[in-house]
């Protein structure tokens, strides 16, 4: 058994654009464009990026909700890139997902008990008593009282609903859990509770997390590794400490600099303000060369060529022609 839960190599997911009467293929939306990384057991990888950067598509491709266009996925020392539906169903016991909005991801007409029993029934686990025991175990695991089992989702608060969402994902003892912005619909005081719970569960059950988010301050508190995505590519990949202390890609820097912080001490920890112009371009009209060059304040002629992910002196992998120059202040913004 190797130390890696997940090994992704050159993963691509293209969605065809069809036009005209015969639905002729005219191009591709490159939602996931050549991504490689490894994820160790029991650790957390955060995927950060603006909406439309392909975070969720990447996670869903890894879970094989989508068939990858190219590349390989190794999950738990096994190539799962091309396995068939039957095997996939068995595999899904090992990888589960917690969805973004707890009010829409729980069936309002079912009791909490039925919601938690559903994954056990689908995968034909145990008999009636065993299932009931498992349901009780689960609800205790997420620190909710057992009488909640007879309630409907609408009588629960947002935080409680999300706890049910987590319990459902854990029902089959998965090894990998994908958390798709699990706290974005919740208040901060509740968010802190859910994050603490997720951390405890990770320790207790030795879970591996993929944590999708756009909240960079949360990443610092939760993840071990961070992948910053922009238009389907990873532009910076490093461990959390390095990312916050030495962000090298201009996109990462600008994302960090726009975090609204609550006190002076914290604002000192942020990089200098990098104004971003405009918004993320449409993935159907992907910019040539470096995908970020249309909004980058440092962009020059050289940026018309695609930069590779290269290892920097801090150990992170960054795709930018000027990564180290920018960090040493050799290049100034605004010269085009």
């Amino acid at each position: 058994m190797s130390n890696n839960m997940l090994e992704i190599n050159g993963l691509k997911k293209y969605f065809p654009i069809n036009k005209g009467f015969f639905k002729k293929k005219v191009g591709d939306v490159k939602a996931v464009d050549d991504i490689s990384f490894t994820l160790e057991r029991g650790t957390t990888l955060a995927i950060v990026g603006e909406s439309g950067s392909g975070k969720t598509t990447l996670a869903k491709t890894i879970m094989r909700f989508y068939d990858p266009t190219e590349g390989t996925i190794n999950f738990d020392d096994r190539d799962i890139t091309n396995i068939d539906q039957k095997e996939l169903k068995l595999l899904r016991q090992q990888m589960q997902m917690v969805h973004q909005d707890p009010s829409t991801s729980l069936n309002p007409r079912k009791k909490i008990r039925d919601i938690l029993e559903a994954p056990l029934l689908i995968h034909k686990v145990g008999n009636k008593q065993q299932r009931e025991a498992r349901i009780r175990e689960l609800i205790n695991l997420v620190e909710l009282p057992e009488e909640f089992l007879n309630r409907n989702p609408h009588s629960l608060s947002g935080g409680q609903k999300q706890r049910i969402g987590i319990a459902r994902a854990l029902a089959l003892n998965p090894k990998l859990v994908v958390l798709d912005e699990p706290t974005s619909a919740l208040d901060v005081s509740v968010q802190a509770k859910i994050i603490t719970l997720l951390r405890d569960l990770q320790k207790k059950l030795n879970l591996t997390y993929i944590f999708i988010t756009h909240d960079l301050s949360l990443v610092r508190n939760f993840a071990d590794q961070v992948a910053v995505m922009y238009l389907g590519s990873v532009v910076e990949y490093s461990d959390v400490e390095t990312l916050y202390n030495h962000p090298l890609n201009p996109y990462t820097q600008s994302l960090l600099s726009s975090i609204p912080v609550v006190n002076e001490n914290e604002s000192k920890m942020l990089p200098n303000k990098i104004p971003l112009e405009g918004e993320i371009p449409s993935p159907t009209k992907m910019p040539e060369g470096c995908k970020f060059h249309t909004r980058c304040p440092y962009a020059t002629e050289k940026c018309k060529q695609r930069p590779e992910l290269e290892i920097t002196k801090y150990g992170s992998r960054v795709s930018c022609h000027f990564a180290e120059d920018i960090s040493e202040g050799k290049v100034k913004a605004g010269i085009r």
């Binding site: 005081s189 802190a192 909240d215 301050s217 939760f222 609204p260």
Partner: protein
Amino acid sequence: MMSKVLLSIEDLKVHFTSYEGTAKIINGVNIHLNEGEVISIVGESGCGKSVTVRSILGLVPTPPAKYVGGEILFENRNILKFTKDEMQKMRGQDISMIFQDPMTALNPVFTIGEQLMDVYMWKGKKRNILSRVNKKLKQEAYSRAIEVLEKMRIPDPTAIMKRYPVELSGGMRQRIVIAMALMHTPKLLIADEPGTALDVSVQDQILIELKRLVKEEGISMIFITHNLGVARIISDRVYVMYAGEVVEEGDAKTIFEESYHPYTNGLLASIPKLDGSMGDGIDGRIPNFLNPPVGCRFYDRCTERKSVCKDTRPDLINLLNKRKVACHLYSEGRN
């Protein structure tokens, strides 16, 4: 120099009638806003911040809502006593509002231009089918719309005017919604969580633009948000609300450096910090409004509660440095 008070909400109490009984949602809120000032109201969902500001515009439907006490004074006139016509005249002209979700605040079947110009051309008269469109007014509205769009630094305003909302990105739509609120250069602008539906980088751009515009035009603003960091960036003063009451008030620069109320403390601790620290959050949930606690409404969740908190409601008292807090742990004039 003492600046003039533009709006003051005095001891506002709002109840909602429901099937199960009367929900006492807003329980004596005091908020005042000087001319040219920007204040924020922060609090979690269900704390009554939206009901409070929507009351200013008369946007809370009555019934179910019932104003049982207090008054809202805008330029020394009580808004709650306004007739329907007076209210309609004030909306959009003196006071306007930026709504939360730019996806739903715009009408999908009209172009941006039509929607912006409508706001300008509406002068309190109902249009009947035979009345002619005033060409001069339309011309004026068009040039005003272009002017506002230029002020918002929207590239190529003439082209944007012909577009439909679906053709624009989220950030651009939010800018349009802001532009719409500025068509008449209101005296008071109410912003209900603009930018929360957007990415941080786009939200940041929009906040910068909004702050600049408000200062340039001398507009006073009430900014509602649940993000304390955003409140700190945009406003001069901050009100923290919990369960229909103001629990703490203070300068935006100092309130988060040193907070007094246990709720504010808990809220601040819950925010994930950049140095990697984060508190455990606040236990429990907001009280039942049908049968709220008689004393402090935070009693059930408070970590520093005393016996006095259960039965006596704490008043908002003055501390030193213009700080106000509603908590029994502190006494008047102390720090």
